[in-house]
């Protein structure tokens, strides 16, 4: 199992995340796509750590931080969504286009 396979898997997951990020109409699904992105990044970090930095495993330390921050970010994100939902009574991303031209 060479490194490239992990990287390709991570890249594929990242692309799926991006796709979900820009096509989802539900705001919660957008947050879920962001989690996919972060997970693909984590796979990258762990893979690099495993193949290139077995001694210090800096990548794994990074990953722990990323998971932590991702949890916090998801919490804030959901709070924002909730705040918007309370005002506008919807989580449809197509309805959030007030700040245009």
């Amino acid at each position: 199992m060479p490194l490239e396979f992990f990287l390709l898997l991570a890249a594929a997951l990242f692309c799926i995340g991006i796709y979900g990020l820009i096509t989802s109409r539900n705001a919660v699904r957008v947050l879920m796509s962001v989690e996919l992105l972060l997970n693909s990044v984590n796979i990258n970090l762990v893979a690099f750590s495993n193949f290139l930095d077995r001694q210090n495993i800096n990548g794994q330390v990074f990953t722990v931080f990323v998971i932590t921050v991702a949890a916090a970010e998801a919490a804030v994100g959901l709070a924002i969504i909730l705040a918007i939902y309370r005002n506008r009574d919807t989580v449809d991303m197509e309805q959030f286009n007030l700040l245009k031209w």
Binding site: I22, K100, W101
Partner: protein, 618 residues
């Protein structure tokens, strides 16, 4: 004292100039209480001073060699503009003629403009003309002659436009200015082109240069034609003659001056330039052709006019055409004599007709008639003017025409036919006018037409006397040929042509046998001459039309294309701003897409060299 007068001959133009400036004080805007009359009196006084000064200097310089004086006007790198004056019998004699005629015209104007408020402007312009013409004849430099001619062109514009609330006056002044200006501009081209060739603008040095000059014939022709174009416009020669017809909208006293001497300014420059023009035979031929066409055309048109002033104005063109012929055949003496005799006779004719117009109101020849018994002085003045103008011995015009014909006999006999024809036709035209004004029975407009008061009649009478005495004066100055040298055949031919013209004119217009108004069997021909060969339409179709179209096109091009290109740039920026703002869709996901696309593009462009080989391999 006499020496002092001789040395201050340059004052002659200055008197009138002072008068011109001082007249401004009596303009209605400045003096609101006491009226403009002192402006006229002051100018009359100034002209009298100039006349007396000219006369006293003329006595001294008669039969003396010409003196040249020069004053440096401007010296810049490589160019020395020297104002040179020539004090000779001819130049001082010309100032005498100018100031004398202006003296009479101003006296006439004081009478004629009795009911007019614009004396300040009018007399200032008359004085400007006098100053301009005196400087023109005294100055001996082509360059300064050009300057004066341009000032006089502006003066013509202003004096024709005296009564500017009349629409025909405004168009007439416009045409007078533009037509003369076109000629002047060609003259300027010639003036500028002759300096590298001759290295001088002094008339006498130009003459010396021309005597030995070896110039490329094409260059000589082109320069000569340009120098010819200025006098052509000034002297109202075909095809630049329409302005004189329209300039008849100006006040009659100014017409006196213009018809007699102002148009002769062009002839003066032409006479002075004769040696240079003679360098090219083409120019001489052109000059003779233009002169002959104008002379014949002018008389034919004059015959067909029904306006007194216009009939006379075309005869001015005619006689200036004869001057062109004289200069074209190298007879400057005859040309000068012709200018002199024409000036006096023409001034008398204009004064006489002006005196008729002043209290018969109409200028229409068909509405006048039967004035001989009640207007004997005007009538006699008119007759003497006619006799002095055409070849009618022993008056002045006869001697000038005789000298011209005498010179033509040796070189160009064909032109003698033109001369005799023009003389006869002018005699006919003048007799026609006489018949229509003075003979026949009074019409409605002339039933009560008294002779004018002394201010109008006196200058006319003085000029009448002068016209009658002109041959005696010429004889005492030794300017007339001796009886033995007289070409008697030619004299008889001239006399016969005049008598024939007068005779036919008298039979047709003074007699009662032919019903008037006369219709030629060829109506179109009559209209052609009556409407001046349709020159206005010709101008409008050719030059005016082209310039008008071209300027409209240029204007359109400027507004649409030049401005349009610049405005298009602004419009494109505006439009693109308006259109591109829609890229801010307000959708967060769209912004993320933009970021993703941007990052991918940057990554691809940076990693292109790495990716490309993988894409090529199958």
């Amino acid at each position: 004292m006499t020496q002092f007068l001789l040395h201050t001959v340059w004052l002659i133009p200055c008197y009138a100039f002072v008068g011109a400036i001082a007249s401004g004080l009596w303009s209605p805007a400045l003096i609101r209480q006491t009226g403009p009359r002192p402006a006229g009196y002051l100018n009359l006084l100034m002209t009298l001073l100039a006349f007396v000064h000219s006369l006293s200097v003329f006595v001294q310089v008669w039969q003396q060699p010409a003196e040249q004086w020069s004053v440096s006007w401007l010296q810049v790198a490589g160019l020395d503009l020297t104002l040179s004056l020539e004090i000779s019998a001819v130049t001082v004699g010309a100032t005498l003629l100018v100031t004398g005629l202006n003296l009479l015209a101003q006296t006439y104007a004081i009478g004629y403009l009795e009911m007019d408020w614009g004396w300040s402007r009018f007399f200032a312009m008359l004085a400007l003309f006098e100053a301009g013409m005196c400087s023109l004849v005294l100055c001996n430099s082509l360059f300064f002659a050009y300057i004066v001619l341009e000032i006089l062109t502006l003066g013509t514009y202003l004096i024709v436009g005296t009564w500017y609330n009349q629409s025909l006056v405004v168009t007439g002044a416009r045409d007078a200015f533009l037509t003369k200006r076109v000629g002047d501009l060609f003259l300027l081209m010639g003036v500028l082109a002759i300096y590298p060739l001759a290295g001088t603008w002094d008339f006498d040095q130009l003459g010396q240069w021309a005597a030995t000059a070896q110039v490329n014939p094409t260059v000589a022709t082109l320069v000569g034609l340009a120098l010819l174009a200025g006098p052509m416009g000034k002297c109202a020669q075909f095809p630049l003659h329409l302005w004189l017809d329209e300039a008849m909208e100006g006040p009659i006293p100014s017409t006196v001056l213009r018809n007699s001497v102002v148009v002769a300014t062009g002839a003066w420059v032409l006479i002075k330039l004769e040696p240079v023009l003679a360098l090219s035979p083409v120019v001489l031929t052109a000059m003779i052709t233009i002169g002959a066409i104008t002379a014949v055309g002018g008389t034919l048109i004059a015959i067909a006019q029904i306006d007194i002033k216009r009939a006379l104005s075309y005869s001015v063109s005619t006689f200036m055409g004869l001057v062109f012929i004289a200069v074209g055949t190298g007879q400057t003496e005859a040309a000068l004599l012709l200018v002199l005799s024409h000036a006096i006779a023409q001034a008398l004719l204009v004064m006489s007709t002006g005196s008729i117009v002043l209290n018969s109101i109409t200028q229409d020849l068909t509405q006048l008639g039967g004035l001989w018994r009640r207007r004997p002085i005007s009538g006699i003045s008119y007759l003497v003017g006619v006799a002095g103008l055409i070849g009618f011995p022993p008056l002045g015009g006869f001697w000038a025409l005789l000298e011209l014909a005498d010179g033509l006999w040796a070189t160009q006999p064909a032109l003698i036919a033109v001369l005799l024809l023009v003389n006869g036709l002018t005699a006919f035209s003048m007799t026609r006018e006489f018949g229509l004004i003075f003979a026949g029975s009074p019409s409605q407009m002339t039933e009560r037409s008294p002779e004018n008061f002394w201010l109008v009649t006196l200058p006319m009478m003085v000029l009448l006397g002068f016209t009658l005495h002109l041959p005696l004066i010429l004889q005492s100055l030794g300017l007339l040929p001796h009886w033995a040298d007289l070409n008697k055949d030619m004299a008889l031919l001239l006399l016969w042509s005049s008598v024939t013209g007068i005779g036919i004119g008298a039979v047709v217009y003074v007699g009662h046998s032919i019903p008037k108004p006369i219709q030629l069997p060829w109506k179109r021909l009559q209209d052609l001459f009556a409407f001046d060969l349709y020159t206005p339409q010709l101008y409008r179709a050719s030059i005016v039309g082209v310039v008008d179209k071209a300027s409209r096109l240029t204007d359109w091009f400027d507004r649409q294309v030049v401005d349009g290109v610049v405005n298009f740039v602004g419009w494109v920026s505006l439009f693109s701003g308006q259109a591109l703002k829609y890229s801010n869709s307000g959708q967060g996901q769209f912004y993320i897409l933009t970021i993703a696309v941007g990052l991918t593009t940057i990554a691809l462009s940076l990693g292109w060299s790495f990716v490309w080989p993988y894409l090529l391999t199958p």
